[in-house]
C-alpha cells in the first residue's frame, strides 16, 4: 500500500543547482557532495545484514574516517531570513534547523525517511529534512512550520488544524502542515483523495488521518493560501 515514488519526495529537476543538489536521485555530484549511498552509511541508516554492532545503526569507526567533523560554509534562506552557517558535513538539514537555528518545530521521528515528521519546504517542495545533508541545501530557500504564520496570523491550513483537531499528540503536525501547504500552493481546492495522495509520506501514529484530511480540505475551501 506504499507509494514508493512519493516517499522520496522527488523534487523538480529544473535548472536550480540547489534543487539538483538536494535531489537524492540526482547522479550528478560535485566533489563537495556525498553520494546518497555514502550519506546513508555515514548517518547510520544503512541496514547491516546479520548480527553486529552496526545492527543498531551505529556507524563503524571506518565509515567515520578522519574528517567527519569537517565544516563547510553554506547560505540558507530560512523563513525569509538569510543565514550564513558553518556546518559539519555530517549534519542533516533537520539537525541544523533544530540545533543551530533553534527552529525546533521541525521534528525528528525516524531519521530515515519513513515518517515525514521532519518535512520542510525546500524551494517550495516538501523534503524530509532528516535525509538531506545541510551542505546539499546550500543556496536553498527553506520554509519550516515556524514560517507559516504571517505577522502573528495563522495560515488557513493552520486555522483549519485548530478548528478540526488536526493535532493529537502534535508530533507529526509540523510535517503534515508543510506538505499540506505545498499541496495547497499548487492545488488550492484539493479533494480528500488528492489530500491523501499528497500526504501519504506523512505518518500519524495517533492515526488522526481523518481529521487531518478534513482540515486540509477545509483550508482549501477557505480559498487556499492566496
Amino acid at each position: 500500500m506504499r507509494d514508493k515514488k512519493k516517499r522520496g519526495h522527488s523534487l523538480n529537476k529544473g535548472n536550480d543547482p540547489a534543487v539538483k543538489y538536494a535531489d537524492p536521485n540526482n547522479q550528478v555530484l560535485n566533489d563537495k557532495q556525498q553520494s546518497r549511498r555514502d550519506f546513508l552509511e555515514g548517518s547510520g541508516a544503512a541496514v547491516a545484514a546479520g548480527a553486529g554492532i552496526s545492527a543498531f545503526g551505529i556507524p563503524s569507526a571506518k565509515a567515520q574516517s578522519g574528517n567527519s567533523s569537517a565544516t563547510t560554509a553554506i547560505n540558507l534562506t530560512v523563513n525569509g531570513t538569510q543565514q550564513m552557517l558553518d556546518v559539519q558535513d555530517r549534519w542533516t538539514l533537520a539537525e541544523v534547523l533544530r540545533d543551530q537555528l533553534d527552529l525546533t518545530g521541525t521534528k525528528i521521528g525516524c531519521n530515515r525517511s519513513e515518517c515525514g515528521a521532519c518535512t520542510v519546504l525546500m524551494n517550495g517542495q516538501p523534503v524530509y529534512a532528516c535525509s538531506q545533508l545541510a551542505v546539499w541545501a546550500d543556496g536553498a530557500d527553506i520554509r519550516t512550520v515556524e514560517g507559516l504564520a504571517t505577522n502573528g496570523e495563522l495560515s488557513p491550513v493552520q486555522r483549519a488544524f485548530v478548528a478540526n483537531n488536526g493535532p493529537q499528540c502534535g508530533f507529526c503536525t509540523p510535517g503534515q502542515l508543510m506538505t499540506a501547504t505545498a499541496l495547497l500552493e499548487t492545488n488550492p481546492s484539493p479533494s480528500s483523495e488528492e489530500v491523501k495522495e499528497a500526504l501519504v509520506g506523512n505518518l500519524c501514529r495517533c492515526s488522526n488521518y481523518n481529521a487531518i484530511v478534513e482540515a486540509v480540505v477545509m483550508a482549501g475551501e477557505e480559498g487556499g493560501l492566496a
Binding site: M1, R2, D3, G50, A51, G52, I53, A55, F56, G57, I58, P59, A61, Q64, S68, S69, R98, D102, G105, T106, K107, I108, G109, C110, N111, R112, E114, C115, A117, V145, L154, Q158, F161, V162, A163, N164, N165, G166, P167, Q168, C169, G170, F171, T173, V195, K196, V200, G201, N202, L203, C204, R205, C206, S207, N208, Y209, N210, A211, I212, V213
Partner: protein, 722 residues
C-alpha cells in the same frame, strides 16, 4: 463523521460543545516544546550500546578507546553502573510499587549481563555532540559468549528449551510462584456436558509496537541532590516516584517535567530506563545529559503489545446458548515481565462456566508491555472470531448470538448503567447490517469478495484517586493545577472544560497548569483511560470547594487569592462501571492478491457524557485505525535461525498511511450514570479493542475462510484461498 444521541441529558454551558484544544496554536506553530526541543547550557548527548545478540553472556568490555575520544565525558557500563529499573520487570506484571519491588525476583537493570534480546542495553556514553556519542559507542569493545535462545512462547515452555532464567521461562506471579494466571468461574466440565456441540480452535496474534511518533528520550539535570528530569511521561507523578525509588532518592528530590509529548499509547507509563541512564550519565558528567533513542532503538528497546497464542474450546446448545468457555493462552513477554500479559474478551460473555489459563512466558524477543487497552484487542480478536465462527456454524446471525450470550448485569453484579443493547441495535441500523453481511460466508461470485463483520465490547471505567487545585484571584481569573501531561487525547482542554463548567466561567477564563511535578498535584497519569474520570472528578470537587469558600468569604480583592483543592476517593457503590461499544465493518478482499480494503466502518460507543465531542470523536477514529493496522498489517517478525528482528520501523511494520484510511463513522450514545464528572466515563482505549475482531470477522464473512492468525496479511489470505 460523528454524531450524538443524548439520553435525557440537559445541555451544559461548556461541556458537550466542540472545543478547540487550549494549546492548539502552540501545536500548529512549532512552539510546543517537546523533550528533545529543550537545550540546557553545557548539555551533553547520550547514546546507548545495545546487544546485537538475542542471548549472550558478556565476557568482557573495553571502553578505553571510547573514553579517549575527544568530547567524550562519561562512559557507564553494566560493570560500573548497576541501577535497577524497577518498573522494567515486576512479579506478576503489576504496577511498580513498594510491595512489587520487594517481591520481584527477576530484576531488570539499566544494563544487563547476560543480555537477553537484540536491543538489550550494555553501556552508555555522554559526549559533547550526538555524533561523537555515536562514534564513542562504536568504539566500545565487548566480548560476547553467545547463548541458545528461544522466540516462541509455547516452545519456551518445553523441558529442553533454552532458559532465559535458571528457574525456567514461565513468568513468576505476584507471589513469586511460577504458575499461570487462572480465572475459573462455575464448572466448565458441567458446561461442556450440557452442550449439544463443542468447538475447538486456536488463534495467534503478533507483536504490535506502540510506535508513537516521538521516540523515547530523556534530559537529566542535577541541581545538587535534586534531579530535574525532562521526559515524555504519561504519568509524571508515577514517573517521579519510580525514579526516586530506583535512584534511592526521596520524591521531593525529583522533578519531572513533560510539557508536550509525542504520543505513547502505554509505553511511556511510569519511568523508563532512558530516565535512569540519562540521570546516571548526568551525575557522572556533572552537566545535563540529553539521551535520545533512535527509532530502531525505540522499536526494540521500548515495549509493544505482547504476541499471543490462544486455544479455545466452546460448548453451545442448539438454540445458541453458550454453556462453557475455555481458553488456554500464552503471551510472549520477552525476557522481562513489564506488564501482565493478559488476554481479555471472555469476560464480555455471561456464560456461567468459564475457565481461562494464561501463561506469560519469557522469550528472547524484545520486551512486551502495555499498549492501549493492554489485554483486549488481541483477546477480542481471538474470542470474537471464535464466537462468530460458532454462530455461523450453528446457523445464527452473530448479532443475535451476541445478544443471547453477552454479559448482562445481575443482582450480585449490578452495573452503574448498561447500554449494550442500544449500542448494538443502533449500530445494526446505521450500518445496515442485514443487507451487508453474507448469510453464507464467501458467497460472492468472482475473485473480489465482500463481507461484513461485527464485534462488541465492554471496558472498565475504574475508580481511583487524583488531585486538583483551583485558584482564583481578584480579577476573577481562575488557574487550574492538574498533573496531566496530555499525550494526545486533549486532557488539558478536557480538564479546563470541566473546571469552567463547574465554576460557571468561560473556558477562556481558566488557565491550566500541567506537566510539572513541582507545580502540579498528584494525577494518576494518562493510562488506563483514567484521566477524565479520576482527575476530572478531582477538578469538579476542587471547584466546588473553591465555590464554597467564595460563598463564605466573597471574591478575593487586591493581592488576595482563594484556593480550592480536592483529592476525592470516588466509589461506584459496589457497582461495575463500564463503557460500551459495537463496531461494524464491511471489507472487500481481492482474493487474487490477498489484499483487504475497508469499505465502510461504523463505530457506536457509550462513554457516558462526552466532555469535548471533537477530541472524543478523534479518540475513537484514531484508535479504530490503529486497530485496523493491527488487524491487517503490523507485526515484528524474527528470523528463527539468528534471533534477529526483521521488521522494526514504520516502513517494515507497514503502518497505515493516509491512503489506507477509510472514513470511520462514530456515533456516541450519551448517558449520565451519576458517578463520573458530569456523567463522563471512559473513551481513550476503548476504540482500539474492536477493530481487529470486527475486521477479522468481516474477512471471514467475505472469503468464507476463518483467518486465525493476526495480522491478516496478504500471504495468509492467499494461503487460505489456495
Amino acid at each position: 463523521m460523528s454524531d450524538f444521541t443524548r439520553q435525557g441529558l440537559e445541555p451544559l454551558r461548556t461541556i458537550g460543545n466542540d472545543t478547540p484544544r487550549i494549546d492548539a496554536i502552540e501545536r500548529v506553530t512549532g512552539q510546543a516544546k517537546y523533550t528533545r526541543d529543550w537545550k540546557l547550557p553545557g548539555m551533553l548527548y547520550g547514546k546507548v550500546l545495545r546487544s546485537p545478540h538475542p542471548h549472550a553472556r558478556l565476557v568482557s568490555i573495553d571502553t578505553s578507546e571510547a573514553e579517549a575520544l575527544p568530547g567524550v565525558q562519561a562512559v557507564i557500563t553494566y560493570e560500573n553502573a548497576q541501577v535497577v529499573w524497577g518498573a522494567g520487570s515486576v512479579n506478576g506484571g503489576r504496577q511498580y510499587n513498594d510491595p512489587t519491588k520487594a517481591a520481584t525476583v527477576h530484576r531488570r537493570y539499566i544494563f544487563n549481563n547476560p543480555v537477553r534480546f537484540v536491543g538489550d542495553s550494555i553501556a552508555a556514553v555522554a559526549a559533547t555532540d550526538r555524533h561523537i556519542a555515536e562514534e564513542a559507542v562504536s568504539l566500545i569493545k565487548v566480548q560476547y559468549e553467545e547463548l541458545p535462545f528461544v522466540l516462541e512462547p509455547e516452545e519456551a515452555l518445553q523441558a529442553d528449551a533454552p532458559k532465559v532464567y535458571p528457574e525456567g521461562n514461565l513468568c513468576p506471579d505476584f507471589q513469586g510462584e511460577f504458575k499461570p494466571m487462572v480465572s475459573d468461574v462455575g464448572d466448565v466440565e458441567v458446561g461442556f456436558a450440557d452442550a449439544d456441540q463443542i468447538f475447538e480452535e486456536s488463534y495467534d496474534t503478533g507483536f504490535i509496537h506502540n510506535a508513537q511518533m516521538e521516540p523515547r528520550c530523556s534530559l537529566a539535570h542535577w541541581q545538587g541532590d535534586k534531579l530535574v528530569l525532562y521526559t515524555p511521561s504519561q504519568g509524571i507523578s508515577n514517573c517521579r516516584h519510580d525514579t526516586a525509588r530506583d535512584l534511592g532518592l526521596e520524591d521531593h528530590q525529583v522533578q519531572v517535567i513533560a510539557q508536550y509529548m509525542g504520543g505513547g499509547f502505554g509505553n511511556k507509563n511510569q519511568n523508563q530506563d532512558a530516565d535512569l541512564v540519562a540521570a546516571t550519565l548526568s551525575r557522572r558528567a556533572g552537566v545535563p545529559v540529553m539521551l535520545e533513542y533512535s527509532r530502531r532503538e525505540d522499536w526494540l528497546g521500548v515495549h509493544g503489545r505482547w504476541p499471543t497464542v490462544q486455544h479455545y474450546k466452546i460448548g453451545v446448545k442448539d438454540d445458541g446458548e453458550v454453556t462453557a468457555m475455555q481458553m488456554r493462552g500464552y503471551s510472549g513477554m520477552g525476557p522481562y515481565r513489564k506488564n501482565s500479559g493478559g488476554i481479555g474478551g471472555m469476560d464480555a460473555y455471561g456464560c456461567p462456566n468459564r475457565y481461562r489459563e494464561i501463561s506469560p512466558v519469557y522469550t528472547n524477543r524484545t520486551t512486551s508491555g502495555n499498549f492501549r487497552a493492554p489485554s483486549e484487542p488481541h483477546g477480542f480478536f481471538g474470542i470474537e472470531n471464535m464466537m462468530d465462527d460458532v454462530a455461523y456454524k450453528i446457523g445464527m446471525d452473530p448479532v443475535e448470538f451476541t445478544l443471547k450470550n453477552m454479559r448482562r448485569p445481575t443482582e450480585e453484579r449490578p452495573f452503574t448503567n448498561y447500554s449494550l443493547d442500544e449500542v448494538i441495535s443502533d449500530g445494526v441500523e446505521r450500518f445496515n447490517w442485514q443487507a451487508r453481511r453474507k448469510v453464507v460466508p464467501g458467497s460472492d461470485d468472482g475473485p473480489i469478495k465482500r463481507g461484513a463483520g461485527f464485534s462488541f465490547m465492554m471496558f472498565r471505567a475504574g475508580v481511583g484517586t487524583s488531585s486538583a487545585i483551583v485558584r482564583v484571584n481578584s480579577n476573577q481569573e481562575y488557574t487550574l493545577y492538574v498533573g496531566v501531561t496530555d499525550i494526545g487525547p486533549g486532557a488539558k482542554t478536557t480538564m479546563g472544560m470541566i473546571a469552567a463548567e463547574a465554576l460557571g466561567t468561560p473556558l477562556s477564563n481558566v488557565e491550566v497548569v500541567w506537566g510539572d511535578t513541582d507545580r502540579c498535584p498528584y494525577s494518576v497519569g494518562e493510562s488506563g483511560s483514567r484521566t477524565t474520570i479520576m482527575t476530572g472528578l478531582a477538578v469538579v470537587e476542587a471547584a466546588e470547594e473553591l465555590k464554597r469558600q467564595i460563598a463564605d468569604k466573597g471574591m478575593p480583592s487586591g493581592s488576595e487569592v482563594l484556593i480550592g483543592s480536592a483529592t476525592p476517593i470516588p466509589t461506584t457503590d459496589g457497582k461495575t462501571r463500564q463503557c460500551f461499544g459495537a463496531h461494524f465493518v464491511e471489507v472487500e478482499v481481492d482474493t487474487r492478491v490477498g489484499s483487504t480494503k475497508i469499505l465502510k466502518y461504523t463505530a457506536v460507543h457509550e462513554s457516558g457524557r462526552i466532555i469535548n465531542p471533537t477530541t472524543a470523536r478523534d479518540q475513537i477514529r484514531g484508535a479504530t485505525i490503529q486497530g485496523i493496522g493491527q488487524a491487517i498489517h503490523e507485526d515484528l517478525l524474527y528470523d528463527p535461525r539468528s534471533g534477529q528482528p526483521l521488521t522494526p520501523g514504520y516502513y517494515r511494520a507497514r503502518h497505515l498511511t493516509h491512503k489506507d484510511i477509510p472514513d470511520i463513522d462514530v456515533h456516541f450514545i450519551e448517558v449520565d450514570d451519576g458517578y463520573g464528572p458530569f456523567g463522563a466515563k471512559t473513551a481513550g482505549e476503548s476504540g482500539i479493542i474492536l477493530a481487529p475482531a470486527a475486521v477479522g470477522n468481516a474477512v471471514a464473512n467475505a472469503i468464507g475462510h476463518r483467518m486465525k492468525s493476526m495480522p491478516i496479511t496478504r500471504d495468509k489470505i492467499l494461503g487460505a484461498m489456495a
